[in-house]
């Protein structure tokens, strides 16, 4: 593993602001106090991903994992913070050079039916980007597409079909082929296997592992499914309400999670080995990111929370090599 990260995020934040609508503005003139709603989807997250690594990004709904994935893939520009691609600050680069770098990072989405244009043939879906970016000429397009389809285990014969003529697993493969067509170095997979049946999921996971070896790819694998993440990842990052609460090498994290949220999450994963077990519960709901709790976001649900957790936000501390956790318990206690 080389020492320079392929992607490096520094204190990246993403806010979504819903402005006050017209009715609200009129009401404000009459003395109402409507304010724009601000969601801190991602809050000062720093993340390094090294070449050849598979980083699993885990969290429940609303924790900001998909938003972070989209920032990494260049779909969103963060409202604060910096992104470095192979050491270069993306925002300060000229547009052409930036495009070259962002092309190396591709994204695979959850629902292939929603992310494939139903009126385009597979040939055009997969071939459009490489032609547009000058990787192949239009006359070479069919060959290039055929090669890419073969790589993901699809018969090139199907190239002239439309997305609806494929099964769910095949559509997932088309989504992967589209991402691979521009020769990326880095893939962001956002819940890419969540919608698939178990037997098809296994096929696609095997495909991801094979591609990783063949093409020397780096993955950011976003999932709510811990068993998938445990299986694939070298390093795992756990998010809760926009913040990273723990990050560690996969093996270490699954053996000895440090943060109370990680512990609860791991305990609650159903497993084949736990037969007729009593399901342990972690109390409470996931709070709304519109109005997150003060201090440590997890304190209302945390079994170990103390007065300090309500007021002070814990920072990520390094416990051992590469093992970071944001909890006051590691740093003087919760009192």
């Amino acid at each position: 593993m080389s020492t320079e990260p392929i992607i490096s995020l520094q204190d990246v934040s993403m806010r979504f602001i819903t402005p006050v609508d017209t009715a609200g503005k009129i009401a404000n003139l009459l003395g109402a106090k409507n304010k724009p709603q601000v969601v801190h989807a991602v809050n000062e997250v720093s993340l390094d991903v090294f070449p050849g690594e598979v980083v699993g990004l885990v969290g429940e709904s609303g924790c900001g994992k998909s938003t972070l994935g989209r920032i990494v893939a260049g779909i969103y520009s963060p409202t604060a913070g910096k992104i470095y691609y192979e050491g270069k600050d993306l925002q300060s680069l000229p547009a052409a050079e930036r495009a070259h770098h962002t092309l190396a990072v591709q994204m695979i989405f959850q629902d292939p039916m929603a992310s494939l244009n139903p009126r385009m043939r597979v040939l055009d879906i997969v071939g459009e980007a490489p032609v547009c970016h000058g990787i192949v000429t239009r006359s070479q397009m069919a060959d290039h597409v055929a090669q890419t389809l073969e790589r993901v285990g699809l018969d090139p014969e199907y190239m002239r079909r439309y997305p609806h003529q494929f099964s769910g697993g095949q559509r997932a493969r088309i989504g992967i082929a589209r991402a691979l067509a521009v020769n990326p170095k880095f893939l962001v997979c956002d819940e890419s296997v969540a919608a698939l049946d178990v037997s098809i999921q296994a096929q696609v996971l095997n495909l991801f592992m094979r591609l990783r070896q063949e093409l020397n790819l780096t993955y950011l694998f976003i999932s709510h499914d811990l068993s998938v993440v445990r299986y694939l990842s070298d390093r795992v990052v756990i998010m809760y309400l926009g913040r990273v609460v723990e990050s560690a090498p996969a093996k270490l994290l699954f053996q000895s999670p440090n943060h109370p949220y990680s512990q609860a999450l791991l305990e609650n994963v159903p497993s084949l080995k736990n037969r007729k077990k009593r399901f342990a519960t972690i109390k409470g709901e996931i709070p709304s990111p519109l109005n997150p709790p003060s201090g440590c976001h997890f304190h209302p649900r945390c079994p170990k929370a103390g007065p300090r957790c309500k007021v002070e936000q814990p920072v990520l501390r390094e416990l051992s090599s590469q093992h970071f956790s944001a909890c006051h318990l590691n740093d003087g206690g919760v009192q």
Binding site: E60, D197, V269, S271, K276, F279
Partner: protein
């Protein structure tokens, strides 16, 4: 005493493209207080089995043959009015998406009181008190205030609790739960599973838990039925089925689970994809994907065979109990 006995159930859909055999010869029973996990991939017929028991199969679907007995009473062919008396009272169902099953324009209390009054002559006040009790039982805080809320005011997990509370209102003998936690986050799923587990053991309610997730039923169920292309291919105790599967499909499913695998090692995948029910191969529906398939598998549908330990499976070449056969070498 069995709460539910299903024998040779066949539910077919008469479509323009032909007859879709969504459920084709399914037999099982559920004893009082038992949890049966009904596992299968999409299109395996697990939900249609649940709908058939509830009498909720709409045209072009039709129960073409077989028998369903709830507490000994035959319900196939029962007139709709009779079925309505059973539904909710004897057997209740919880669906995957409570936003689709709760009426969005009625308050929770209206919907709950309605469910009670449909089966019993009690005062509105008494019904309301029972509704409140039911909400408390499923762990909804401030139950009396929440009664006057509308479904959209609840979070996903809370809505599913409301749906469970409604299912419990008339203390049914059997609850059919169709993927009720699939859309929920891990910690919320665990909360719901804990509630269900506790309620069923307290009240002795039998439960059919329909899911695609083997890991959930591993923790919850006493017995597991694995469905493939409209048939139960394997049925047995949790430990037997998960530790020593008889059917190659069950083995394939277990091998496909990433939680079962070593980090980074290739998963033992099943080749191919689930067949379309309209174009099933002759013989065993799994044969095109099965590596043990022989001539006979492509010609003859395997009969349901019994195995020691109260197990059943449909396979010409069961993976265990026939160690002398050449095909179990790969173990």
């Amino acid at each position: 005493m069995d709460v539910l006995t299903v024998e040779n159930l066949a539910t077919h859909f008469m479509t323009r493209a032909g007859v879709i055999k969504a459920v084709d010869g399914v037999s099982f029973n559920v004893a009082q207080g038992e949890v049966l996990g009904l596992v299968g991939e999409s299109g395996s017929g697990k939900s249609v089995t649940g709908y058939s028991i509830m009498g909720l199969v709409d045209p072009p679907g039709e129960i073409v043959s077989g028998s369903i007995r709830i507490s000994g009473r035959e319900v196939v062919g029962l007139p709709e009015e009779e079925m309505q008396k059973l539904r909710g009272k004897e057997v209740a169902m919880i669906f995957q998406d409570p936003m689709m099953t709760l009426n969005p324009v009625l308050r929770i209390d209206t919907q709950m009181v309605e469910a009670i009054l449909a089966h019993e002559k009690v005062s509105r006040k008494a019904a309301l008190a029972r509704a409140k009790q039911a909400l408390e039982k499923v762990g909804i805080p401030a139950a009396s205030e929440r009664l006057t809320s509308y479904p959209h005011q609840f979070s996903g997990g809370m809505r599913q609790r409301v749906a469970i509370a409604i299912a419990l209102l008339n203390s049914p003998k059997l609850i059919i739960a169709d993927e009720p936690t699939t859309a929920l986050d891990v910690t919320i799923q665990s909360q719901i599973l804990a509630e269900i587990q506790q309620l069923c053991s307290e009240t002795g309610t039998a439960l059919i838990w329909i899911t695609h997730d083997l890991t959930v039923v591993a923790g919850l169920a006493h017995r597991i039925a694995v469905m493939y292309a409209g048939r139960i291919v394997e049925l047995g105790n949790v430990d037997d089925v998960l530790d020593n599967p008889i059917h190659p499909y069950t083995r394939g499913l277990l091998g496909s689970l990433p939680s079962n695998a070593e980090h980074g090692q290739p998963l033992e995948q099943i080749p191919g994809s689930t067949p379309s029910l309209g174009r099933l191969p002759p013989g065993c529906a799994f044969s095109p994907r099965c590596r043990h398939a022989a001539e006979i598998c492509r010609e003859k549908v395997p009969e349901n065979q019994s195995f020691p330990g109260d197990r059943q499976a449909r396979c010409h070449f069961p993976l265990i109990y026939k160690a002398s056969e050449p095909l179990s070498q790969d173990a």
